[in-house]
Symmetry: C2
Subunit: 242 residues, 2 copies
């Protein structure tokens, strides 16, 4: 920096530091994906802002000064779903000037993948609900944009890396897996080619069991190879917080 630039910067900081520069809030928003009833779903809450009356919004919160971005995301997930062992991935930041009606808030978007039927899962209250991703038209803030961006990222990831299994129970059939891929990608897949593709990836173990709750010939059950399970760095939450 030149001396001239430094002078300018100093003057600038003195003038507006507390008024402006540090008047930008930072939040984390989580796109929490789940899978149920052959549909990809997302966990939403009714917006509590007047401007967005009747609309749903993603789950988010301001970042605390003493927590990492990921820690904040894990905290939100834990608070809202009771789960602390989830897949989480940062997507990107959203920071349009007018994205939040109450002031300048820059948000960092994460998506996470959750097994809706997981025994430990418990939604924090009753205005929190799973919504089919396909049926959503409008959300509060710029959350539809964030959701779409996260879905796109998810669609890219599932083809390369074994993350979809976070959406399924431990044991699953190949049909269930295919239906999940179809729900995420939004397209139909050829059963034979799908199985070939999965087989080549060598992600699964045949556990020697079969489905027992289907009204037709039961399929074999598989599970993900243990060494491929993505273990999220389990973050320690703030003491005193559930």
């Amino acid at each position: 920096m030149t001396e001239r630039e430094l002078r300018l910067k100093t003057a600038e900081i003195e003038k507006i530091s507390h008024i402006d520069y540090f008047n930008i809030a930072i939040s984390v928003d989580c796109v929490i994906f789940g899978y149920d009833d052959k549909e990809l779903k997302v966990l939403l809450i009714k917006s509590d802002l007047e401007e967005f009356a009747g609309l749903f919004s993603l789950l988010g919160d301001l970042i605390r000064p003493d927590e990492d971005l990921e820690t904040a995301s894990y905290r939100i997930l834990k608070e809202r779903t009771g789960l602390d062992d989830v897949y989480l991935e940062q997507v990107q930041a959203f920071g349009s000037i007018k994205r939040h009606p109450s002031g300048r808030v820059i948000t960092i978007a994460y998506y996470s993948l959750i097994d809706i039927k997981h025994h430990k899962m418990q939604l924090s209250h009753n205005e929190l609900n799973w919504h089919p991703v396909n049926e959503l038209k409008k959300l509060a803030f710029d959350h539809k944009l964030i959701l779409d961006t996260c879905l796109l990222r998810l669609q890219q990831r599932v083809l390369e890396t074994p993350i979809v299994f976070n959406l399924l129970p431990e044991k699953f059939s190949l049909r269930e897996l295919q239906e999940l891929y179809e729900a995420i990608l939004g397209i139909g897949l050829d059963r034979r080619n799908f199985r070939k593709k999965i087989s080549i990836k060598d992600w699964l173990i045949d556990i020697g069991e079969i489905e027992n709750d289907v009204p037709h010939r039961p399929g074999k059950l598989y599970k993900l190879k243990p060494e491929l399970k993505i273990k999220p760095a389990r973050r320690k939450l703030q003491p005193g917080k559930s």
Copy 2:
């Protein structure tokens, strides 16, 4: 005031501002890639923090309350290089608690691609220099991590989308293009297969000219099809700012 006093004062103000519990500062850091002498380079500046004496850092600045994230990135690029028509892509946010010694600063990383030889380019001052990406070991802050992350993203993008041309002059030979890909990917490529691959993508126009400054048989010159040029939404900078 001397320059040193100014620096101290700046640091002091920044530090004080950061003490407040709920105040987190937010910045943008730009990984500005260039290509020259068959090497991928990145534009760095000497760090002005004592903690990082002797180390280089990326170009960044705090985000102003009245500018979008992209606007802030464009501003930095314009201030530092004089260019305002550049390719820019957000990568992700970095927000470890202790990544900045003066306080909590969350930063959003962008990378951009610049033709170093562009006639309009002019570095803002002489402590600003191009460094070969391969030779960098340690940078100030977590900037090495940011750089590596951006490079990885770049490597993924160049295979799918025609962005590398932002690093080249308008006209180029296939050899130059191949050398650029090799520099970005860090691997050698087979000339015949490379040309086949580029040919299939149908990105280029043969402009009917040949190289004229090479000490051997000159190659044909090409340019990117105009409709494939990625036109960055040219952001309006703040009035009063160059």
